[in-house]
Symmetry: C2
Subunit: 232 residues, 2 copies
Amino acid sequence: MSKAVVLLSGGLDSATTLAMAGAAGFTPYALSFRYGQRHEVELEFAARIAEALGAVEHAIVDIDLGRFGGSALTADIAVPKGRSPEDMEAAIPVTYVPARNTVMLSLALAWAETLGACDIFIGVNALDYSGYPDCRPEFVAAFEYMANLATRAAVEGHRRVRIHAPLISLTKGEIILQGQALGVDYGMTCSCYDPGPGGRPCGECDACRLRAKGFAEAGIPDPLLARFAQMP
Amino acid sequence: MSKAVVLLSGGLDSATTLAMAGAAGFTPYALSFRYGQRHEVELEFAARIAEALGAVEHAIVDIDLGRFGGSALTADIAVPKGRSPEDMEAAIPVTYVPARNTVMLSLALAWAETLGACDIFIGVNALDYSGYPDCRPEFVAAFEYMANLATRAAVEGHRRVRIHAPLISLTKGEIILQGQALGVDYGMTCSCYDPGPGGRPCGECDACRLRAKGFAEAGIPDPLLARFAQMP
């Protein structure tokens, strides 16, 4: 079995990606980041998901992206609420974290190289997303090309690095249906950008709205909402 | 004056690059990393160089590359000593840190984006180097291409990210002569991979040997050696 590094945020997309990496026959190593995100509670979700979906190891790496500021997810800027899908597509929102996927894929590449792995999985999605530049297929392809010039294995000529983005052309509804078929418990995932205690979703940020749209499309209830509905 | 982010390790190459960025008319923001390197003393050198060469700000960002291991610079692996230039070119050495330049350029890109800067300087060098894959011109070009797909400025179409590698085709001797002309005090730089107290160079690692070769080519004495020769 080949090893693969899987970026795991604790959200719906990356949990599905982790399940897909396992289903494709890879031994998954899950990688999460503490990057100054206001929704740091997602790391607790990530740890439970990694265990439930059979990751061999779960590394949480600190990177101080908050040092640079510039995003509602890391700085003291309000997270936008109540936006429609059309609003989300109109411009890159303030929740965009500068160069986040580039930084995270770079660290995944570093770990992959020390593990002797050539495969990296990332749950980016170009359909139901928030208009982030680093979620598009052309970005993923360019990163893969660069990675094959950056690393020892590539230079020594014996292996190729592959960046897998299995969700890239799926809708949120399709992602949920595929994950459900692979046994992902979405009650263990956390999507909200501005969660309350224990990860209670705000229901109004872009991430919550995209998630709700996905469960509506899939025609199933969101088990996370059911879980919080039972709590006081 | 345009802002530029300059990667600054505290060594000879990055100090020269910082001087070149200033001479080219950029307002420099220096960026260093505490990545678990055994030669962490280089950060003290970096701070003094940043100040001496007029950096507006000097950020030191923590990234735990040592978490992944795999390099003599971050793990408990011996730094090779006494190798000839031919030895250094024969294979990628154990001092190679997996994906280091990719990770550092990614973080420079994140900072550049929040500063509103489009220019990043890196002191990689493809001639007198240690055989690292991520020091080659094709790597730098591929990173630049990827960066222009990864960022808000690029997507919104108004600016292009440029990765400047002004040393890429210079010999160590040429680098030293150009830096000297720009007023770089090489007595403030630290190249050694395995330094003693205060940054005293070991004299035998690849970095010390390449540095000595450079000063010999340039026909000038190394002021760092003069400094340590005066110390007990």
